[in-house]
């Protein structure tokens, strides 16, 4: 599968009329987050439930590990709350960045 690419240097040109390209991202949304989900891969059994429940679709499985595309994670906490193994904890964004 492909992960979305973001063109932050978008020129600002406009198309003819409102005929836009599909999936055209020019900004990321990590700044929206107060806290950040962190997956403990030691506890995680790869059931992929977090992948199902994420409204953003930012959780994915790669090499049998669940990973998060933090560029677009808003830190809503649904994954941590719904995880049946409690393998995801929400870390305050400041604390998460400090480590």
């Amino acid at each position: 599968m492909t992960r979305a690419t973001v063109n932050k240097k978008f020129s600002g040109d406009i198309p003819v009329g409102t005929y836009g390209p599909a999936m055209h991202l020019t900004e990321t949304l990590e700044g929206w987050r107060n806290s950040k989900p962190v997956i403990d891969n030691g506890i995680c059994n790869n059931c992929k439930w977090c992948y199902l429940v994420c409204p953003e679709g930012v959780i994915f499985s790669e090499e049998n590990k669940m990973k998060i595309d933090y560029r677009f994670c808003k830190g809503c906490g649904i994954c941590a709350k719904e995880c049946k193994k409690s393998a995801i904890i929400m870390k305050k964004e400041d604390a998460a960045n400090e480590k």
């Binding site: 599909a22 990321t28 809503c76």
Partner: protein, 294 residues
């Protein structure tokens, strides 16, 4: 169930609120329907968060329709696809409760009547959330919205929430279902079912809104689950005249506990809760009657 889902994300980088139930409903449905899908969204949360140029968040063909026109545009696309011989495709609409039960009802009725092969998904968050939580005809009794401010005289919404599922079923539609993001496997199965229906299908999916309901963003799914457990939302299907209940609740959990978790119901009194319980029993008896009869 995971096998039913396309690995690709078709709705990504949108600006919905954290924990948005509607965006989860859209995301999951598109993962069932896959690449060959045309999406119509009317004015509303999903179009507002997914379609602000230059940030365009659908990787399938998608467009915003005028508010009242979701079903009409779906039909237009399907009919054009037929004329142009584009056969292997899904045509799906995602409209909110206001876009469906209020301003879009006429066009929806027309489309079902024509029997066009389209999938109409109503993501119901029980008010006009995009414009700042105003009452819609799917706002439940007692709920606070900005146009039903609770006070000494009126305790929030006095409406009874239109029964959209029954309205749609009364058209003798090919397939209709209620669903909830509180039961994801059930929802996915229903979208898959709709995909293969040769005619119009309608799915009414309960999609809580943390912002409008006054709950934590992490509680969207758990509150949707509780709505089912306390009997305020049921999962039912209608196919070729036959009703089927998908989740039988043996003993309801407390409506009061469910309501009091949400800021929009903070003000409701025990008397209000009695009315809501009565409504629940009436609606559940009604639908159980439909199921039994057949």
């Amino acid at each position: 169930m995971l096998k039913m889902l396309d690995q690709e994300e078709y709705f990504y980088g949108h600006k919905g609120c954290g924990g948005c139930g509607g965006s989860l409903a859209v995301r999951l449905a598109l993962k069932v329907l896959g690449k060959n899908t045309f999406v119509v969204l009317p004015a509303g949360c999903m179009s507002a968060v997914g379609f602000v140029y230059p940030q365009l968040c659908f990787s399938v063909n998608a467009l915003i329709s005028p508010f009242a026109s979701t079903a009409a545009m779906l039909s237009g696309i399907r009919v054009a696809a037929k004329s142009l011989n584009i056969t292997d495709c899904n045509v799906v609409g995602f409209a909110g409760d206001g876009g469906t039960a209020d301003i879009g009802l006429q066009a929806l009725s027309g489309a079902i009547d024509r029997g066009d092969k389209i999938i109409y998904i109503c993501y119901d968050n029980e008010a006009y959330m995009n414009t700042g939580v105003q009452q819609s005809s799917l706002t439940p009794y007692g709920a606070r919205t900005t146009t039903t401010p609770p006070g000494d005289h009126i305790h929030g919404s006095t409406n009874n929430k239109k029964d959209m599922f029954e309205i749609v079923a009364a058209h003798h539609i090919k397939y209709a279902a209620t669903a909830s993001i509180g039961n994801i496997p059930d929802y996915i199965r229903k979208v898959e079912k709709a995909k293969n229906i040769n005619g119009t299908s309608y799915i009414h999916v309960a999609a809580p809104c943390p912002t409008g309901w006054g709950i934590e963003s992490s509680d969207t799914i758990s509150i949707a689950k509780e709505a089912i457990e306390c009997g305020l939302w049921y999962l039912v299907e209608y196919e070729d005249g036959v009703y089927k209940l998908n989740q039988e609740i043996q003993e309801y959990t407390s409506i009061k506990v469910y309501l009091k978790k949400q800021a929009r119901f903070k003000h409701v009194t025990d008397d209000d809760i009695k009315i809501i319980e009565e409504q629940r029993d009436k609606k559940n008896n009604f639908i159980k009657g439909k199921v039994k009869k057949i």
